[in-house]
Symmetry: C2
Subunit: 324 residues, 2 copies
């Protein structure tokens, strides 16, 4: 068989139909219309079996997750997700697996009003590459490079849950069943902060999604903006699951360097702080201020209740996140 | 290492810089501007090692080929290629391999004025997924569904060369060295018919690129257009390499059902035939008329010098193309 050619069977005629899709699945290309005065935002992310997810991941969760991590990049630009292309490499044809996988993908696509406009299905080791497209009003995209000295640093939600889910599977941490259920859901079905990203347009000075961990992703903003930052560690939001399952020192690597939470990390000029807090509340986003931008050359100063906080003492520099 | 994060080193700051790219590699998304009155054309194709290419393929050829097959889909829509995202999964880091691979990709990208605007590099079995974007004037895209009874059927160049290259490696056909060099180049460095595709806008009624073989790809046009076709087998263009290396019966499976040639197959209303022939000559495209659209339900009638031509007699129905 030249191609698995599943795209038509499992993707065509399912999911939502957007009016700006002029030609969907089934020709050499899809054709879409970008609104006037909008830029097109484009991102690509690949998930590889055994590297980015456990082999025993539920296919529904995998379908959700593969799309979610891409939509999260669009959210971090303040873009409205519109269309995605799905490249699916499968070792063999298991109709039930594919049905569940596509179901998981269609669910999140419909939730965010995203249309799957095409793709390619090939035989090989399980790999999913999605190219997600979105639109953003001309000049309003949130870049990593706009943070200025004095801007406040925010995060849209608790950090560390995804890491706790992964490590509890690998290391067998003792976690209460309801907390385990919560962290597993946070890892398997991450929610890209699409609405929050759009609220931030015109208010935030920079943004990124927390995929590599707070320290690493904040580092990207600082490098691109040529500034430094101070972070108040005790302000970083954590879930009840995290608080109940680990003591503070154990929490640190998860909160500071694990990633995979897909919350947005962003900076806001002091003059926009009031309006931002108001708008985020209107949209039900519990964003928390965790620090401030300073002048400097990409350094991150950590404070704990105002006291300088030593990286090595808490050992998390040596905590090398492995792929799952 | 979380990601190979090669995108910056091997892709950023190399290749062409288009003025419609507002933000290239290095942020959560790229940002581009689609011209007013143009639609965006999007296509994705994956190449998997051992399935779509030989393990011993030169990395430069692989880089070229991975992009070429995607640009060919844009050509088949009459779109102008503009931006591509590259998802590269590599088993390990071999700097020389990556250098040659990206060199091959940059060469063809520059030739067609295409900018690599982003991507993802991950660890895993060698796989390349490209999502190519292009623009096409509103309503002018070439679809598979527009062929009408009486339209002439054309192909932009010789068929079967890529198949001859593959099978000569596997079966050791005796081919003159200069012919072998030619067919290997046709397979390793296919040329997407980008200019031809744009010339066809407003003149052709349907188009597709020959990736699955003439019979299969013509079948896609016929199915989508709800018509049938008659093909004059002796009119199908073949290379000197093909003519010299195989006798007519041996040539048939390559010409009719092998694919991978990435020529365009298209249909033209009789009223546009004169203008089309003129324009194609102006652009140096040697397109050849190989048949005509008839009424019917997707059947392909083959004639050889006006005589009905029997599939089974020539045995090519039993020739199942395997992946390389």
């Amino acid at each position: 068989m030249k191609e698995f050619e599943l795209i038509n069977r499992y993707f065509k005629g399912r999911g939502i139909t957007r009016r700006d899709v002029n030609l969907g699945i089934g020709d050499d290309c899809a054709l879409v219309s970008v609104p006037q005065n909008c830029q097109l935002a484009v991102t690509t992310d690949t998930l590889v079996a055994g590297v980015h997810f456990f082999d025993d991941i539920s296919p529904r969760a995998l379908g959700h997750r593969a799309l979610a991590v891409n939509l999260s990049d669009l959210a971090a630009m303040g873009a409205e997700p519109t269309w995605v292309s799905v490249a699916l490499t499968l070792p063999s044809i298991d109709p039930q697996w594919i049905e569940e996988f596509t179901e998981g993908m269609h669910e999140i696509a419909e939730y965010f009003n995203v249309q799957i406009i095409g793709g390619d299905t090939t035989q090989g080791p399980l790999t999913i590459t999605i190219c997600a497209k979105g639109t953003v009003p001309e000049g309003k995209a949130l870049r990593r490079s706009g943070a200025k000295v004095g801007d406040w640093i925010y995060v849209t939600g608790p950090l560390g849950d995804a890491g706790l889910a992964i490590e509890s599977r690998k290391q067998g941490f003792k976690i209460e069943p309801e907390h385990l259920k919560y962290v597993n859901k946070r890892f398997d079905y991450p929610t890209p902060r699409v609405a929050a990203g759009q609220v931030l347009r015109g208010l935030a000075s920079s943004a990124i999604d927390v995929s590599d961990g707070l320290i690493a992703d904040l580092g990207h903003i600082l490098d691109m903006s040529q500034v430094s930052a101070v972070i108040n560690v005790e302000s970083i939001p954590t879930s009840d699951a995290m608080k109940s399952s680990l003591d503070f020192d154990q929490q640190l690597p998860f909160i500071l360097s694990y990633g995979d939470d897909y919350e947005l990390l962003f900076t806001v000029p002091d003059s926009n702080k009031g309006m931002l807090d108001l708008k985020l509340r209107q949209y039900g986003v519990d964003a928390v201020c965790i620090g401030q931008v300073k002048s400097g050359d990409g350094q991150i100063e950590l404070l704990y209740n105002g006291e300088e906080f030593n990286f090595e003492q808490h050992g998390f520099e040596h905590f090398a996140k492995e792929q799952v």
